[in-house]
């Protein structure tokens, strides 16, 4: 009897604690990120990041000189992050192939690898809508690593811009003709 009462008491206390925590979470309106992100600088990687790192998708290069290939090179070695993203687009404006190469930490490699996975199969306009927050959420990146996802978004945009630039002189020639 006493034990049950004690149990009930404990559960009530736990419930009160949970209520308090939920209330504070609502008040702060903080996103529910894994607990370790604020302390260790990403040494304990999320397994998605490790997976992209161990088995990177689409590493490599496409022919830079080809008219259907857009190349985006962003970042700087001095910052410790350089990403090169290349997309191959067919006549209908759909991205059929993508390749990346990255000089950066595990999160940067994972972000660019995921970016190449996502752009494949999208049209040029759809690819522009990929946001760094989506990449960060998918990989569960800690706040200290958010700049890696931002760089991946920049790389996609740079590749698309380069592709568009390559298309314009062709359009100009076609109009002239």
């Amino acid at each position: 009897m006493k034990f049950r009462q004690a149990q009930a008491g404990k559960m009530a206390a736990a419930g009160a604690g949970r209520l308090r925590r939920a209330a504070s979470a609502l008040l702060l309106r903080s996103p529910r990120l894994p607990a370790r992100e604020l302390s260790a600088p990403a040494r304990l990687y999320h397994k998605k990041v490790v997976d992209h790192y161990e088995n990177p998708r689409n590493v490599g290069s496409l022919d830079k000189t080809s008219k259907n290939v857009g190349t985006g090179l962003v970042g700087a070695p001095a910052c410790g992050d350089v990403m090169k993203l290349q997309i191959q687009v067919d006549e209908k404006g759909k991205i059929v192939d993508a390749r990346f190469k990255t000089f950066g930490c595990g999160s940067a490699i994972a972000s660019s690898s995921l970016a190449t996975e996502w752009v494949k199969g999208k049209t040029v306009e759809e690819a522009l809508t990929i946001k760094n927050t989506d990449i960060a959420k998918e990989l569960c990146l800690p706040p200290v690593k958010l700049h890696c996802s931002m760089l991946a978004e920049d790389a996609i945009k740079a590749a698309l811009a380069d592709y568009k630039l390559k298309q314009e002189p062709k359009k100009g020639e076609a109009e002239k003709k």
Partner: protein, 604 residues
């Protein structure tokens, strides 16, 4: 060691010759941790069959041995389980040998000991309560299970050393800790192999980060255990034997530390570590001579605690000169001489750098400082016990020592403060005036005993360790550099402590390489591994290009690092650097002949 303890403990073999006390001889000092308990077990009832007395009964051996084994089982097995995962074999086998010898010699010793019966209830009461019920249980255990326990413990240790679950790679696995699925990174492995497997023993990475901290040498643990278990007195208690024995141990440790650096024991003050010692040296000296001297000199590659202490003194109104270092990492002596002003009170230069392993010319700096009448402080945390140091030959006035860098316990260190001519220091920590008033607070006897033992062991092993570590260091550097192009060693190759190797792998980022070498515990000077995303200030001070600063890895080789561990690390490093270079756009551009310095990079 044994003689002091036994002389005032009347219940130990009072009739035995103090010198002939077998515990005093021999390496098996673990017994000292359990003298009360050991005697507790051998109850003086005579064997009904043979009618022999307590001393001669063969069961006595087993009981005492059982108790020892059980305790050693828990303590040693824990230690063995930890150490086997991270050390090489050499000390494990020597530890095992000494443990085995303990059991054998203990069995022989049991026969000669005698105790008065009437003190039995007092001793039982004297034991802390936690030991009581355990002892009652152990008393019931017979000799057969005693030997079984010993065999089980040894078997466990042997299994932990030799076995590794999962598929065995081509490289030798004895003594290495491996994870499942490591050696096939490019294969189509399902995602959850990245998670640590739940079944099987927990595998731990190889430890190659000795500049961060070192494991406890087993001989240091041996020395510390009695003071953690039985001899728990406060060394400043002057009125009873607990205090006296603790004080004796503390003074013995002080002598051990002093003899390692050529100092007088009265010049050694125990602190909580090298950080506190650095604070005392810099703030204490500066504040004491505040009225006449307002200037300090240090270098840009010092440890953070030194730089931060100087910064806080600047806020108090002092002036600090941060000397730059050359590309080799060594300061320019002419610049030092030019920087000394009439109102300089202290020069602080570390002996061996913790990031790049560079050795500063301490003897020359000492000569300059003493000729200009300026106090010379050196942070020798990474150097003590590894290279020969003498405070008189090198004219050092203050020196910081850290225990956990020389295979001692964490949480203790020492500061050497010269007495002739006397260096005055303003105390940072006020209190009861312990440690000559320079550092009040109870001196932690077990920790300082550990520090003293670590210093003594280091003195004995210095030459052997240095030779062995130099050989392994050469091996690591040569093997990596001959297999990989574009690898830069940071720091002067000549004036260099071989156990700290800092290499920059061009076109590969440090953190991604650390992630690849997940079976080896390493450290990097890369920004991504620091909380502030800034690359290491030491590498910046030696003029490393920023992208190379992001690519640096620090390999640490210590007393317990084996050749196999070095070979494994080298092999994995080469394999992963090649793989990461394949993934690197910078490497691709360099292969195409593009000069990276000519490119205008976009900043983000």
């Amino acid at each position: 060691m044994g003689r002091d303890r036994c002389s005032w403990q009347p219940w130990l073999a009072s009739d035995a010759h103090p010198n002939g006390h077998e515990c005093a001889k021999g390496a098996a000092t673990l017994h000292h941790g359990f003298p009360n308990a050991a005697h507790q077990l051998s109850t003086p009832h005579s064997d009904p069959e043979t009618g022999k007395g307590a001393e001669e009964r063969p069961g006595c051996h087993a009981h005492g041995a059982t108790h020892h084994e059980a305790h050693l089982d828990t303590v040693e097995a824990a230690w063995l389980g930890l150490s086997v995962g991270t050390h090489g074999h050499r000390h494990l086998t020597s530890l095992a040998a000494s443990v085995a010898q303990l059991y054998v010699s203990h069995g022989k010793r049991r026969g000669g000991r005698s105790r008065p019966d009437e003190s039995l209830p007092e001793r039982r009461a004297a034991l802390p309560g936690a030991w009581g019920p355990g002892l009652q249980r152990l008393r019931k255990v017979g000799s057969a299970s005693g030997t079984m326990l010993l065999r089980a413990a040894w078997r466990r240790a042997a299994v932990a050393v030799t076995a590794a679950p999962g598929p065995k790679p081509a490289a030798p696995t004895r003594g290495l800790r491996l994870r499942v699925g490591d050696h096939a990174p490019q294969s189509a492995v399902p995602a959850d192999t990245a998670a640590v497997p739940e079944a099987g023993p927990v595998l731990r990475p190889l430890y190659m980060d000795v500049q961060a901290t070192t494991p406890l040498d087993p001989r240091v643990l041996d020395a510390m255990l009695p003071y953690l278990i039985n001899y728990y007195g406060n060394p400043h208690s002057r009125t009873h034997a607990y205090g006296w024995e603790s004080e004796a141990a503390m003074e013995r440790a002080r002598q051990q530390v002093a003899s390692l650096i050529g100092a007088d024991p009265r010049e050694i003050i125990f602190t909580s570590g090298a950080t506190e010692s650095n604070n005392i040296a810099i703030k204490g000296v500066a504040r004491f001579y505040r009225s006449r001297k307002k200037h300090l000199i240090t270098t840009q590659t010092e440890h953070k605690c030194v730089l931060d202490s100087c910064r806080s003194l600047e806020a108090e109104g002092f002036q600090v000169t941060y000397l730059p270092v050359q590309k080799s990492g060594i300061i320019d002596l002419k610049e030092l001489e030019a920087a000394i002003q009439p109102d300089t009170s202290l020069v602080s230069v570390m002996t061996v750098n913790n990031e790049i392993g560079v050795k500063q010319p301490i003897a020359e700096i000492g000569r300059i400082c003493s000729s200009r009448k300026v106090y010379f402080h050196t942070d020798a945390a990474q150097a003590v016990g590894k290279i020969p140091l003498d405070v008189n030959d090198m004219k050092i006035d203050l020196m910081s020592i850290s225990a956990h860098k020389i295979y001692g316990p964490k949480g203790v260190g020492a500061i050497y403060i010269r007495r002739r001519p006397r260096v005055r220091v303003e105390a940072l920590q006020s209190g009861g005036g312990q440690e000559r008033g320079m550092r009040s607070g109870t001196v932690p006897t077990p920790l300082v005993v550990g520090l003293g033992a670590a210093c003594e062991v280091a003195q004995q092993e210095m030459e052997y360790d240095h030779k062995r570590i130099s050989k392994l260091s050469e091996r690591l550097i040569q093997n990596i550099m001959k297999s990989l192009p574009d690898v830069v060693m940071n720091g002067d190759p000549k004036h260099h402590y071989p156990g700290c190797i800092n290499l920059s792998f061009a076109y590969v980022e440090g953190e991604s390489l650390l992630m690849a070498l997940k079976d080896v515990a390493l450290s990097s000077g890369s920004a991504c591994t620091s909380a502030s995303l800034e690359p290491s200030y030491v590498l910046r001070a030696i003029g490393t290009d920023e992208d190379l600063a992001h690519s640096s890895i620090r390999f640490g080789i210590g007393r317990f690092t084996t050749e196999e561990e070095v070979d494994y690390t080298v092999e994995k490093c080469i394999q992963h650097v090649k793989r990461l270079r394949e993934m690197s756009p910078l490497w691709e551009m360099v292969q195409d002949g593009i000069d990276l310095k000519s490119i205008k990079w976009t900043q983000h």
